[in-house]
């Protein structure tokens, strides 16, 4: 709980083989990290579409994490490199929209790194708390009738 009471909404995309396992180990070790970090499982960090990340920010996320396997360890050989390249290009793009680059965090967490998972989650939470809420819908408003005709 912060002074302002702001608890960021953070979405973490975790890959089935490494970072999901890392989160599991964090659980087995009973390590604690903020509950506002919510996980979405994908098979590979290479599946994470930059569109998802933008949708997350648009829909209320204050921060997004993409957690994949360490370089050279990807279960699908190079999916994590795809995630790396996409995030590297997405951050400056988000910056141009005036979304702070730190709101998108890419990291490598192996299936055994429970400590790292908890630490990365805590650090992300601190970082985003300092940056404050993004509140994108409000920030770009007012939006005029957004319905797509049926």
């Amino acid at each position: 709980m912060t002074e302002t009471g702001f608890e960021p909404n953070i979405i973490a995309f975790v890959c089935n083989w490494c970072s999901y396992g890392g989160a599991d180990i964090a659980g087995s070790m009973r390590l604690k990290y903020p509950s506002n970090i919510k996980l979405i499982r994908v098979m590979c960090s290479g599946r994470v579409d930059p569109e998802f990340i933008m949708e997350a920010f648009r829909s209320g996320a204050d921060g997004v994490m993409v957690l994949g396997c360490h370089p050279n360890d990807c279960h699908y050989i190079e999916g994590n490199y795809k995630a790396l390249k996409r995030c590297n290009m997405l951050r400056p793009l988000l910056d141009q929209f005036n979304i702070e680059q730190d709101r998108l965090h890419l990291d490598w967490v192996s299936a055994s790194e429970g400590e790292k998972f908890a630490r990365v989650s805590r650090e992300m939470n601190e970082r985003i708390t300092k940056l404050g809420p993004l509140n994108w819908e409000k920030a770009i408003g007012p939006i005029r009738s957004m319905e797509v005709p049926s």
């Binding site: 933008m54 790396l84 590297n88 290009m89 793009l93 141009q96 994108w136 770009i140 009738s145 005709p149």
Partner: protein, 324 residues
């Protein structure tokens, strides 16, 4: 009073190119004029807003509206046309996606007015006057200007749109096909974009020589490249061609003129945000895997929004830049 179907053509924040596109039909425009009655077309005919207000609801078969919406007057008139029309067509990239004027979503009203009316070096505006919605002229006349919104909106964010005719401007073929479909009653389901959905690569003259593997080592702007006419896929040389994320139907005019596609026909059917999809494709094609080298490759492209969202910023997921 003729029995011909009535149509209206209206422009919002636009350059006039879409009006010219209609004229570009050349002789075919005579067929159009034969087949329909144009009852409202500010650029070419002397009808007034009152004439539109007098129409019955649904009396117009179709309204073709081009330009992005950023003035209250534009919002008012397009809503009026919506009431009076059976079908509303978003005509041209600006109405479909926001268009080039949509790039103004990188700033806001204050930013624009400050730059245009105060900062430009050739201004002669010692009192730093800016347009205001309500002004008293000479102390006695109440003058009202349309409200200038902070953002540019595509047409379908203001009124329900039935069909989209894409392009900046739509090519004569696209326009002719659309008109023919309307007059023959062969329009597809509502909400459709009236152009093939497959992206430009499908019909691109440079497709056959495109290699199976493209590896981008750095991004290059067309004017820095001396082999634009070698007939090879632009992406091979690191030139951003929006073709893969842009629907076809334009006749590849730009490609045939040795210039890469800039995306004016908008994304294929099930793509919501053209810019981010293209960005995903481009970044995935970067050659190096080294963590330290990847940012250097991306730095060769100093501006991302320009090439990726040249026509589609207001219809993108994030809609506009956040002004602090």
């Amino acid at each position: 009073m003729s029995d011909k179907p009535k149509i209206a053509i209206y422009w919002c924040s636009s350059c006039g190119g879409c009006e010219e596109a209609v004229v570009d039909l050349n002789e075919a425009i005579l067929d159009v004029v034969d087949a329909v009655d144009i009852v409202f077309w500010p650029v070419a005919m002397d009808f007034k807003y009152e004439d539109v207000r007098k129409l019955k609801d649904g009396e117009l078969l179709a309204s073709f509206i081009n330009g992005g919406i950023r003035l209250s007057e534009q919002e008012e008139i397009v809503k009026l046309l919506r009431e009076k029309s059976q079908l509303v067509f978003a005509f041209g990239s600006c109405a479909v996606m926001g268009g080039v004027p949509g790039l103004a979503n990188m700033t806001d009203r204050e930013g624009i007015f400050t730059r245009v009316y105060k900062e430009i070096e050739s201004n002669d505006n010692p009192e730093n006057r800016v347009p205001e919605t309500e002004t008293k002229l000479d102390g006695k006349y109440d003058l009202e200007l349309p409200e200038f919104y902070d953002s540019v909106y595509p047409l379908d964010q203001i009124i329900p749109v039935d069909y989209y005719i894409p392009g900046c401007a739509p090519s004569p073929e696209t326009i002719t096909d659309a008109f023919t479909a309307i007059l023959e009653g062969k329009l597809p389901e509502k909400g459709s974009v009236l152009s093939p959905t497959k992206s430009l690569c499908d019909t691109c003259p440079r497709k056959d020589s495109k290699p199976d593997k493209i590896e981008i080592e750095r991004f290059v702007e067309p004017h820095h490249y001396d082999k634009l006419d070698d007939g090879r896929c632009f992406l091979e040389a690191g030139i951003i061609c929006m073709g893969p994320a842009t629907r076809g139907g334009c006749g590849e005019r730009c490609i045939n003129a040795n210039m890469p596609c800039r995306g004016c026909y908008g994304p294929p059917n099930n793509v919501k945000d053209q810019g981010v999809r293209m960005m995903s494709a481009l970044s995935s094609l970067i050659k190096t895997d080294e963590e330290k080298e990847i940012p250097k490759v991306i730095e060769t492209l100093p501006d991302l929004i320009g090439p990726l969202y040249m026509y589609g910023l207001p219809s993108s997921i994030l809609f506009r830049k956040k002004i602090k």
